[in-house]
């Protein structure tokens, strides 16, 4: 049967891989053109949010178990890394992996007890974990700095360019890794769980196992990102655990296109850059985001990625397989 040599869907895969390649090239070459540290820091933020949104997407976009507490892992590992750095002098090449492992372990713990719950319950429990961590940070003024948080963390590198490249390499690794993962049998199984968990179970798949593993990977990556952020900002605060961060990451993935890994990349860049450029509008930005999310869900539930894909297909006259 010709035309199906590999597990990957033919043309779309190569097209996206090419897109990723071009994107990576732009990312790595950008600092040659951009020297203003303000923009470099802004782009660092973009990289950070891409990692958060993509890691969120692996579980929630693919299996449909919406995680409302991603900040739990981000801030948990961020604070863990901060404490290891401030008290034991560990540098980023230790705190980041360790933060990730701690986050992944929590992902395992939380996942095992919560992933058998149906959608809204899972969402609520994850929210509660995030909210509890936030409140705990706020009240623990002696050990964790309370509202102020912890400062004086060793920096990631000694310049915005250094931070930029560090985060860029991390982002590229995460994006490529997650993209290939999503195209593998693991990704296919996750998607089957999101499509129809009953049919998936009825086909012999231990769905809980796969959901937990996805959750661990999602949490672990978010944890490393959190630790990275802690070093880059040289500070951690309770706002890292706030539900607004979880909601923001969620919105980036949704607007970009859940369940694709590529979509969240676009969503993260878009919302971060729009966030910054609309800074003068103050809190109205969130108004626009939430309005955007409402619009996306109602009119284009598969997000920007689908809109672009359809536009591209129509432009090249390719026979449309999807309605």
């Amino acid at each position: 049967m010709e035309g199906y040599e590999n597990l990957f869907g033919p043309r779309r895969f190569y097209r996206r891989l090419l897109g990723l390649g071009i994107f990576s090239a732009i990312v790595f070459l950008a600092p040659l053109v951009i020297e203003d540290p303000y923009y470099l820091e802004l782009l660092f933020l973009c990289h950070y949010y891409v990692i958060l949104a993509c890691s969120w997407d692996l579980l929630s976009g693919f299996t449909g178990n919406i995680n409302f507490g991603h900040a739990f892992f981000i801030a948990g590992a961020g604070y863990a890394g901060a404490l290891l750095n401030l008290n034991l002098g560990w540098q980023y090449w230790l705190t980041l992996p360790v933060g990730g492992i701690i986050a992944a372990l929590f992902g395992l713990l939380v996942g095992v007890v919560t992933l058998r719950l149906k959608g809204p319950y899972f969402a609520s429990v994850t929210f509660c974990f995030g909210a509890l961590l936030y409140k705990w940070f706020m009240v623990s003024s002696k050990s964790l700095g309370g509202e102020e948080g912890l400062s004086g963390i060793t920096s990631l590198s000694d310049s915005p360019v250094g931070n930029y490249y560090f985060s860029a390499i991390f982002m590229a690794a995460v994006v490529l890794g997650l993209y290939f993962l999503s195209k593998s049998s693991f990704g296919l199984i996750l998607r089957s769980i999101g499509e129809n968990e009953t049919a998936s179970e009825g086909s012999g798949i231990n769905t809980t196992y796969f959901k937990v593993v996805a959750f661990m990977i999602s949490a672990g990556i978010a944890g490393v990102a959190g630790a990275m952020y802690a070093h880059a900002q040289m500070h951690v605060g309770p706002e890292m655990a706030h539900d607004s961060l979880s909601a923001l990451v969620l919105m980036m993935a949704v607007v970009g296109g859940m369940g694709s890994i590529i979509g969240p990349i676009m969503g993260a860049y878009l919302l971060t850059l729009v966030n910054e450029s609309l800074r003068f509008m103050g809190e109205l930005r969130l108004l626009i985001y939430s309005g955007a999310v409402v619009a996306v869900i109602l009119f284009a539930p598969k997000g920007l990625l689908e809109i672009l894909s359809q536009g591209f297909r129509r432009a090249t006259g390719e026979r449309q397989k999807a309605a």
């Binding site: 049998s185 998607r191 089957s192 129809n196 179970e201 009825g202 769905t207 999807a322």
Partner: protein, 245 residues
């Protein structure tokens, strides 16, 4: 001959309604059994309990010498008992081939499959068996209704089941599709596949099966070969009585 599947005294009540009462069944290797009964008789509930989707209030299900009553659905599938769904609801946003690849990632199939063979090759074989090979790259949501039914069956046989349960496979099919399905079922039977089929459309079913079980209001009222069943007064009563409404 040792039964490959044995159900003893299975019962289930939902609230005040006794859906299934004291159901027994013995299935031998290679059997082709039909389960008939009016709507709401409890047939699908029996399937659900056999396959771990619902827990019976009482009774046991023994499969190949093991008590599988309390196992989870995926564990039961991995032991060789697989079912299709009455309301076919597969993986709409995935291609037909991907749909059939999912069972190929189950524990059972991964262990049995030849090491060299890629999952998609294995999946293609099953698509060919139900005659859907040409549509392998089509998204499930674009398939015709009859094709969806066949796809669900391909998915089920991809788990390489020792017993295959088909839940109303003929419902909603036109004459041509029904013929295709009939032929596919007969083919599988010839190859020795043990099957239990729930069906409402008697004419299609009775041509295929060797033994029939009739269920009314959750109770087995008759069991025998197709001629016996069709001349059984209780069965006639159940169907005629229903039609009078």
């Amino acid at each position: 001959m040792d039964a490959v599947l044995e159900i003893q005294g299975m019962s289930k009540a939902f609230g005040g309604l006794q859906a299934v009462r004291d159901f027994d069944l013995r299935v031998n290797k290679g059997d082709l059994i039909g389960i008939i009964g009016p709507n709401g008789a409890g047939k699908t509930t029996v399937f659900n309990m056999m396959t771990g989707f619902i827990r019976p209030d009482s009774g046991e299900v023994w499969f190949q010498g093991e008590n599988i009553t309390r196992l989870k659905p995926y564990e039961i599938v991995n032991r060789g008992l697989c079912r299709t769904f009455q309301l076919v609801d597969l993986f709409k946003e995935m291609t037909a081939l991907e749909n059939v690849m999912i069972p190929c990632f189950s524990h059972r199939v991964r262990h049995n499959r030849a090491h060299e063979e890629k999952p998609w090759k294995t999946a293609m074989k099953f698509l060919e068996e139900v005659g859907l090979a040409k549509r392998f790259n089509e998204y499930a949501k674009n398939l015709a209704f009859g094709e969806l039914r066949l796809l669900d069956i391909a998915r089920a046989i991809a788990t390489q089941p020792d017993i295959l349960l088909l839940d109303e496979p003929f419902s909603g099919l036109d004459l041509e599709d029904a013929g295709v399905l009939s032929a596919a079922i007969q083919q599988m039977h010839r190859k020795g596949q043990t099957m239990i089929i729930i069906e409402h459309r008697l004419r299609d079913l009775l041509k295929l099966v060797e033994r029939v079980v009739a269920i009314v209001f959750g109770e087995k009222i008759a069991e025998g070969n197709p001629q016996e069943i069709m001349s059984n007064p209780k069965v006639i009563n159940a169907y005629l009585g229903e039609r009078r409404e």
